[in-house]
Symmetry: C2
Subunit: 522 residues, 2 copies
């Protein structure tokens, strides 16, 4: 298969008659950047020289060749054995030689598109594109009014609405909070239903057993009005899997991707390599292990369906050696992400990382950890930033206020990524002459012609002076964010969906609920 | 003159007998990084291509050649006229042709050292060195207990002590707060006295009239136990001046630097080019104007004393076009600083920028604005970061808590700047084999040998989980910082100073106070 292009004509065949949804629709609660697919013009920061890159590659290859990875999935082992890999009898350990690995990895596209039910929300993963996903998978959520609490369907829907609202969030990279009030057997049905109805952005499905991933693919297909053949023809959704580092890939983390790969749907492979815990305490060692684990799965998927869109996922950070707790937005995270960027480019693969933080509340620590994470992502030339908006507590909590705060910084990053103009008019020598030593530029024609769009205009940052700020109640950032998300939710309108499609989707959910959904132990 | 080296022998002649102060002295309030002069190993981010660099240069040269800069200082004008520049009769406008400018700029050193009274506190400005200065010049200060208030001598001394305490702050770049309870005629005497007694780090003197800068030079000379000739032989202190943008340099901003240059003391030249207000609304135009203004002063100083250490100062940010207020840590600030870095390297000059923010309190906005500013400084390869710790409100307030918070992020940047190791031991293939798929790295010998120093260990960030954090009172970052500065001040011990030097310094202050200090209108 080939990824990416040539989707316009098939989209014209959609059952809803090709009516294009308006992505500028929605409330005017805040001043937003327009929907855009940002491209990163900067030369990436590369802590490794060429020799260092090869050393990390060689270490990863030695792990794959000499130590091996445990694949806890019989069919996966068989496929790899058939392809010439060494499967140790009586265990799941698979050793692959570097020629095999590299041959498979080379089949993966450097770039691919994912087209969700609204083709205007197409996203492009790879090259110099830099896209952002919402927070994914926390068990808890919090806001200033209700405090921290386990996620439920209401908060799930709220956070999906906020994700849909913000143009700076390109994709739904997981449940923004786990709705624990829905039984796990049917949670995926309600969650994906809600995400498809409340949003028209590309969405992720969890690889948690055959039923869940198959149901998700079917629901995305229905929502997009595609035939099964059309669905299989190019990416419409995606999944992310984590290895059980060190050196182990669980059944579900293989079974879902294998099903997705067979239907040409993208798989992000993200080893969970926290340095000092599940990976070596050295950043080079952790990135080497991360590379080995990621490439092992990518090689399997390319063996199954050559050309399957895949992403090299970097999650390498460090634990705090005092407490053993994961730390994020650290100097080590910066360097690990940049080194991961080098390895992704070395293999010609798109890169995923995260906008992560460890803070327990949306305070200054949360902000600097997240800003350092965004610095990591820009300087590493990350293509897809997971958890870009809303994450707290190392992923244990989704914060309504933090989501809004993060969108302010994401908008700034998007603005930052625009190329700098240095034409004659930009250099403004005539304007400098016109204003002269006794004037100012506020009223200059050069300024007036440009001031509406010259600079990024924040929606959340307070730029009034102290006295004005104090007079209005000394409102700190999270409190300002609190007002904003309420306004957005109050004014939220879901994107259009054809009635027939909505009915088909609901019928599918009802049927699958009758059948019991996905099997669970409880 | 030549800057930089060969100072060890003269330092041996110090009156205090060459006893070396211990820079590791002081309280153990927090876990600090050691005193070090960090070097930035990253390739800088360069938004301009070569043509763009030349375009900015050409625009700056056209400003200098065709429009001119107003020098409000008769002697300066005469010196420039004598050197062949065109001085317009009846005004202060000086036009310089590009050959003259470039000839003068080339005389400035690419790197120089400043050696304060404690030679172990020598700082190196230029090349890939990246040093940090405290907050400078706010009229107000704040802490969580006493709120925001005008600065006084007590708060001035407090903030100097904190500046002295933190190893990540290399220099005193100005009064950390203006002590408005000291009459301006003698303020400089008390302030410089206190800075010299409470700190042994390199310090800045304001260029605010002949008396103040001359007194400051004399006091630094006395504190270092130097003869006038020794003082003149190499840099011992520094000043910073701002142009009155657009296109104007006030009398004091020229008089001080001319006096410093004649004695071989470094001058940082920082145009105040807020885009959209005192400079064009386009970043390219603002940087072009900044370059013109900075080079105009640098050319004058090199004419006066070839080889005078100078620094190209970048302060270009944007105003908020809604309120007209200055904005900091913005996308525009990032790009302007990076472009300034390119221009500084183009001219072979060290670069100054700032860790700036606009926020009114030490909340999330302050943290992300500062983190973005630090990102700007690292990616631009800034040599000297002004206002690195403690600045709020666009420079109108010095915050005790923000100072501590900033030091946490400065320490992280210093840790980040360390080179990444990729030796065989770092790649850790043997450790990965040893741990295997069923283990973890917490107890691995590879981890145990390294865990004390493997990662940056924060002193302020909270890495305990939510429950533990909540149990201890849900203490947010500024409150934690509040406890830390109190402990530091409680335990503070000033660096050693020879009694004879202290007496001489006090006698000088008393004498100058008797003489009336510096003249004022009030």
């Amino acid at each position: 298969m080939t990824a990416g292009t040539g989707k316009t004509s098939r989209r014209g065949k959609r059952r809803h008659g090709g009516r294009s949804a308006n992505i500028r629709r929605g409330s005017a609660a805040i001043r937003q950047v327009p929907w855009t697919l940002p491209q990163n013009p900067d030369v990436p920061t590369e802590p490794l020289d060429e020799e260092g890159e090869h050393a990390v590659h060689d270490a990863a290859m030695r792990v794959l060749e000499d130590i091996g990875i445990d694949f806890l999935h019989d069919e996966a082992k068989q496929i790899l054995a058939d392809a010439g890999c060494t499967v140790r009898v009586g265990s799941g350990t698979v050793r692959m030689d570097r020629d095999f690995v590299m041959e498979q990895v080379r089949k993966a596209p450097e770039r691919f598109d994912i087209t969700p039910r609204n083709p205007e929300r197409m996203v492009r993963i790879g090259d110099d594109y830099m896209l952002f996903g919402n927070v994914g998978s926390p068990p808890n959520c919090s806001d200033l009014d209700r405090g921290r609490r386990p996620g439920d369907r209401e908060s799930y829907r709220d956070l999906i609405k906020l994700t849909q609202y913000f143009n700076c969030i390109h994709m739904i990279i997981g449940y923004p909070v786990e709705p624990v009030d829905i039984h796990p057997s049917i949670r995926h049905l309600d969650c994906i239903h809600d995400a498809l109805v409340l949003s028209d952005k590309a969405l992720h499905a969890y690889s948690l057993g055959k039923e869940r991933i198959e149901d998700a693919m079917e629901m995305v297909r229905i929502a997009a009005g595609l035939t099964p053949g059309e669905f299989d023809a190019s990416p419409c959704m995606f999944t992310n899997i984590n290895s059980s580092s060190p050196l182990k890939i669980d059944f579900n983390m293989l079974d879902g991707p294998m099903r997705m790969a067979r239907r040409g749907q993208p798989v992000i492979v993200t080893p969970f390599t926290l340095a000092g815990a599940m990976a070596p305490v050295t950043i080079a060692g952790a990135v080497a292990q991360q590379t080995a684990e990621a490439l092992a799965v990518i090689a399997l998927l390319q063996t199954i369906n050559p050309g399957t869109p895949v992403v090299y996922g970097s999650f390498t950070s460090n634990v705090d050696m005092g407490s053993g707790a994961p730390a994020f937005g650290t100097p080590e995270y910066l360097r690990a992400t940049q080194m991961s960027g080098q390895m992704a480019r070395f293999y010609g693969l798109p890169l995923r990382a995260s906008n992560a933080c460890a803070a327990n509340c949306p305070d200054a620590q949360a902000a600097w950890e997240s800003a350092f994470s965004l610095w990591a992502c820009v300087s590493a030339r990350v293509n897809l930033v997971y958890h870009a908006a809303g994450w707290l507590e190392g992923g244990l909590c989704a914060s309504y206020e933090k989501l809004v705060m993060d969108c302010e910084t994401l908008q700034q990053v998007i603005h930052y990524l625009r190329p700098v103009a240095v034409g004659t008019d930009d250099l403004a020598v005539d304007a400098i002459r016109e204003v002269g030593p006794d004037g100012n530029f506020f009223g200059a024609s050069h300024t007036l012609e440009r001031y509406e769009t010259a600079f990024y205009r924040p929606f959340l940052s307070e730029l009034n002076n102290f006295e004005a700020w104090e007079e209005r109640g000394s409102i700190q950032t999270p409190e300002r964010a609190n007002s904003i998300w309420k306004q957005i939710l109050d004014e939220f309108e879901p994107p259009p969906m054809d009635d027939a499609i909505r009915e088909e989707l609901e019928a599918f959910v009802a049927l699958r609920k009758e059948e019991g959904g996905a099997p669970t132990d409880y």
